[in-house]
């Protein structure tokens, strides 16, 4: 009994090495939560963009602010990761890419595509 208590439990997220598929799954959640938090921001921006020509111009001005640019880049990463990982899950639903090797490949692809989109966003925004 005593032995069991000293048995190492590797639930420390910094100690266990997560497979790339697990990282894709967790990133899908993280990006999803980020996107939900951005909903009120997006609705507010939509409202200001439609209110008047002045508020539209003010909004365009606001989007050049460094903080707004940072938020935009994070948002672009979140939506692209969620988009590609979501399509990956939809494909897995219909039995495409369910084998371990292909699931790992597609997870890497999702991370790569999201990163490319984020870098593309950096290029546009800066």
């Amino acid at each position: 009994m005593n032995n069991n208590k000293t048995r190492p439990k590797h639930l420390n997220l910094f100690k266990i090495r997560m497979p790339v598929t697990a990282v894709a799954s967790i990133a899908h959640r993280v990006s999803g939560v980020l996107l939900v938090m951005l909903i009120p921001v997006v609705v507010y921006l939509l409202q200001r963009s439609l209110h008047s020509e002045q508020s539209y111009d003010a909004l365009m001005q606001l989007l050049t602010h460094p903080l707004a640019k940072m938020l935009l880049i994070i948002g672009i990463w979140a939506i692209s990761h969620h988009f590609f990982a979501g399509i990956r899950f939809l494909l897995i639903d219909v039995d495409i890419g369910i084998l371990k090797a292909s699931a790992r490949r597609s997870a890497w692809l999702v991370h790569a595509l999201a990163l490319i989109c984020a870098l593309w966003g950096v290029g546009i925004v800066l």
Binding site: R29, V33, V36, V43, L46, Q47, E53, F83
Partner: protein
């Protein structure tokens, strides 16, 4: 069918259908942005005043809020174990998402008048 689609499976189906709609919507937006003739306040309001675009955008937000509800509900059910805390969080989430929905509805109804 209603018995088949009870609880978990219904959430699963909502999540998939809303996801597919949003993928198609994003492609439509990408094409619209790529094919636009001009930019600025006037073209933008005119685009959204078009009833088809207005409804398509409205349906997108409907799908988005449903998708957000199912996704956040899954996360809350995974990590928030005490029953009352879970209920409070779910109700707060529902109120927030409903408020977002009403807000978007008002914005879009106003946008169609331009």
């Amino acid at each position: 069918m209603s018995k088949l689609l009870s609880t978990g499976l219904r959430a699963w189906v909502i999540q998939r259908f809303s996801a597919v709609y949003m993928v198609v919507f994003l492609l439509y937006i990408a094409v619209s942005v790529a094919m636009r003739q001009s930019t600025g306040f006037e073209p933008w309001t005119a685009w959204l005043a078009n009833p088809i675009n207005n409804v398509v955008v409205g349906l997108f937000f409907f799908a988005l809020l449903l998708h957000a509800w199912v996704g956040c509900r899954d996360i809350i059910m995974d990590y928030v174990k005490p029953f009352w805390l879970r209920m409070i969080k779910l109700v707060a989430l529902a109120v927030l998402l409903l408020a977002m929905g009403l807000w978007v509805l008002l914005v879009l109804l106003k946008a169609v008048e331009y």
